[in-house]
Structure formats: structure tokens, C-alpha cells
Amino acid sequence: MTSAILTGLLVGIAFGFALQRGRFCMNSAFRDIVTMKDYTLLKTVALALLVSMLGFGIMAMTNIITPNPKAIIWGGNIIGSFIFGIGMVLAGGCASGITYRVGEGMVGAMTAVLGLTLAAIATAMGFLKPVKTALQAVKVPAEGSSLTVASILNLDYATVAIGGAIILGLIWWFFARKNKGGEVFDAHKDASLTDKIFKYGWSWFPTGVVIGLIGIVAFPLSAAAGRNYPLGITSGWLKIGQMFMPSVPFADSLKWDMWLIVGIVVGAAIAALIAKEFKVRMPPGRMLVQTFIGGALMGFGAVCSTGCNIGHILSGVPQLSIGSLIAGTSIVLGAWLAAYLMFVRPMAKE
């Protein structure tokens, strides 16, 4: 119990610190490709996935962890995650993005988190529960078993994860070497190392490595606290929301994933305060409505799909879960549709 508080909080603080310093956000990663042809954050996400995959593989091989890939839930993974993807563009951040920005003082992120929490509760146990039940009705294969890339290939998880991470890494390195792009604009090229860590934003490479490593550390620590899964966001906010519900025993909320969320907000606030980037930022009023609705779509989608972008993409894809790969694809497609309608089309018209 005490260790769950301690490890959940510490992993959360490290995660929040890294998210804030690296400006890590999957919403930007996927959306920026279509809105501004910017691939920086996408590279960060890809690198974090490879690092986690390698680490999970090694830990599975040495029996430090037992992989726990999510089962396929067709309706949830396809429709729920697609709605999640639309929601995150409206909210101006993915689940982890809006969480760390709460610690930065962004009011728009706070309303998004509020929408996410309320909708997650409504979907898990409230008036939207029948919709969730309907979406989760079709399960292939049967509940409890979960298909992975490794199980399809009839191979051991560790082999595929380690081998896959190394092969994909080498392919990436080969192509990156072949097409070395032009000079990247860097305003702080000559800054000291301390300034580069605490004052200015991290570049994509260290961010990807650090986020991937935090995922690796999170897995066994979370498992030791009785929750055999690496990082996740939505379930923690759901538990925070349930603290205010008399029908749910308070102790049920005091779990590892809840402390993780508290840690992320604290860690991001620490990082932002040191960098002097903390500021209560109030967007125009209609934006608060937009981010609230976006957050609500995310909360609904994540509960239906049993995971947000962190649970499915950052934690699920490195475990090679087919359900997470489907959910991840749907999140990206939903984000692209929303980004096209909200930004690409209006800009082309002007």
C-alpha cells in the first residue's frame, strides 16, 4: 500500500517532468503531420515505443515482468478509439498531454481533464454504460485471451519484442543516415547542459529515450502494487473522479494509477516552475467549451476501448497487443479527420 503511493508518485513525477520538458504529446505528434508537415514529435513517440519494446522484451526474458497485452475489443478499439482521436484534437492534447499541462497552469487543459473524468465515470458506471456494453459486445477471441504479434507468429514474446525493436531501430537508423535533412533551427545550440535540461525544452531524441525508460521502470513497479500494466492515464483520472462519489469506497481510488496522475501533475509543475514556464493561461471562453467537449469524447472513447493513447500506444504497442495496434490506428485516423476538418480545410480556403 505505502509502496504503491511511493512508486506511483515517483514514477508519475519523473513522467510529468519528462512530458513537460520534452513537450511530449501524441496529439501534436499525429496532428502536426497533416497540419504543418512537422514530424518532430512523431519521431519522439516512435523512439519511446522502440525503447519500451526493447526494455519490456528484456524484462520478459529475465522474468522481471509478465506481459499483459490488452484483449481485442472490436467495437471499442475501432469506434471508441476513433472518437478518442477526434476528442484529443478538440481538447488540444492527448491524455498525457492535457494531464501534464494542468501542472503548467493551462486552464484549457483543466477543463479538458474535467470533461475526460466526467465522461469516463458516465461511461464506466453511469448513463453511457449501455453504449459501452454494446460497443464491447463483440470480442474475438474470447474474453481473457489476447492476441499479440508474437502469438500470431507463434513465437515467444521476448524474442519478437527484442528482435523487432532492434530490426526496426536499424532500419530507421539506415534511412535517417541516407536522407540527412537540412539544418534544424535550434535557438539554444550553445546553451550549457544544465540549461538544456532545466531551462529549455528537450530535443526529440533524449525525450523519446527518457519516456521509453520511464515506461520500462513503471511496468514492474506497477505490477508490484498489484496492477500488472505499465503507464496509463484514463483509469487514474477515473479513480480521482470516484473519490467524490459516495457510492464508491474511498479506498478503491487509492491505487497506483491514481498516484501516477498526481505525480504527473506535480512533476510537470516542478519542471515548469524551474524553467519559469508556469503560468495560469486562460484561453478565450469558447475554447474552454471546446476542450471540455474534446476531453469528454476522450473519456468516453478511452473507457469503451479500455485505454487511452498511453495505455494503448505507449504501453500496449510495445507489448505487441493486436487490440492496442487497432486502437492506436483508430486514434491516429480520428485525429487526422478532426485535424483536417478543423485546420487543413479552413486554411486552404483562405
Binding site: 508537415k37 518532430t40 492534447g93
Partner: protein, 83 residues
């Protein structure tokens, strides 16, 4: 140090959420004549780094990225003339 640069236009996107600081700035730059200077006031850390990178990619010239106070920044960009 960049006091002497005279901005043709000022765009204040403080408080805006992701990605509006970038989207609004790029849309404004697109409509400006070659050589005109846009002054952008913003406080969103991700955009402070992403905006100069993408403005340069589209051919605009980033004249300055100045930190004012805390997360508040002032970015000066000379339009490439995409009109």
C-alpha cells in the same frame, strides 16, 4: 537588441491552446507581403520551439526568439511572401 526591428503587424496568441498559436501565426504570415515583419506574442512552450522551426521551413526568416518574462515570448518573423 531587436528593438530596432519594426514589426509591420503584431499577433497576440497568449493563452491559446495547442496548435492555435502556430496555426494563426502561419495563416497570418501567408497573407503578408515579402519583407513585412510579424511580431508574435505567445506563452505556450511547445509553440515557442515549433513555430520558428516551421516558419523557417516555409521560407520565412526568423529574426528573433526573445524570452520576455517566464513563458512569455516574442518572436519576430520576416514574411517570405507566399501570397
Amino acid at each position: 537588441m531587436t528593438e530596432e526591428i519594426k514589426a509591420t503587424k503584431t499577433l497576440d496568441v497568449c493563452g491559446e491552446i495547442c496548435p492555435y498559436p502556430d496555426v494563426k501565426s502561419m495563416a497570418t504570415l501567408k497573407k503578408m507581403e515579402k519583407g513585412e515583419v510579424l511580431e508574435i506574442l505567445l506563452d505556450y512552450p511547445l509553440s515557442v520551439e515549433r513555430l520558428p522551426r516551421n516558419a523557417a521551413k516555409w521560407g520565412h526568416k526568423v529574426l528573433a526568439v526573445e524570452q520576455l518574462e517566464g513563458p512569455n515570448h516574442r518572436i519576430l518573423v520576416e514574411a517570405f511572401g507566399l501570397k
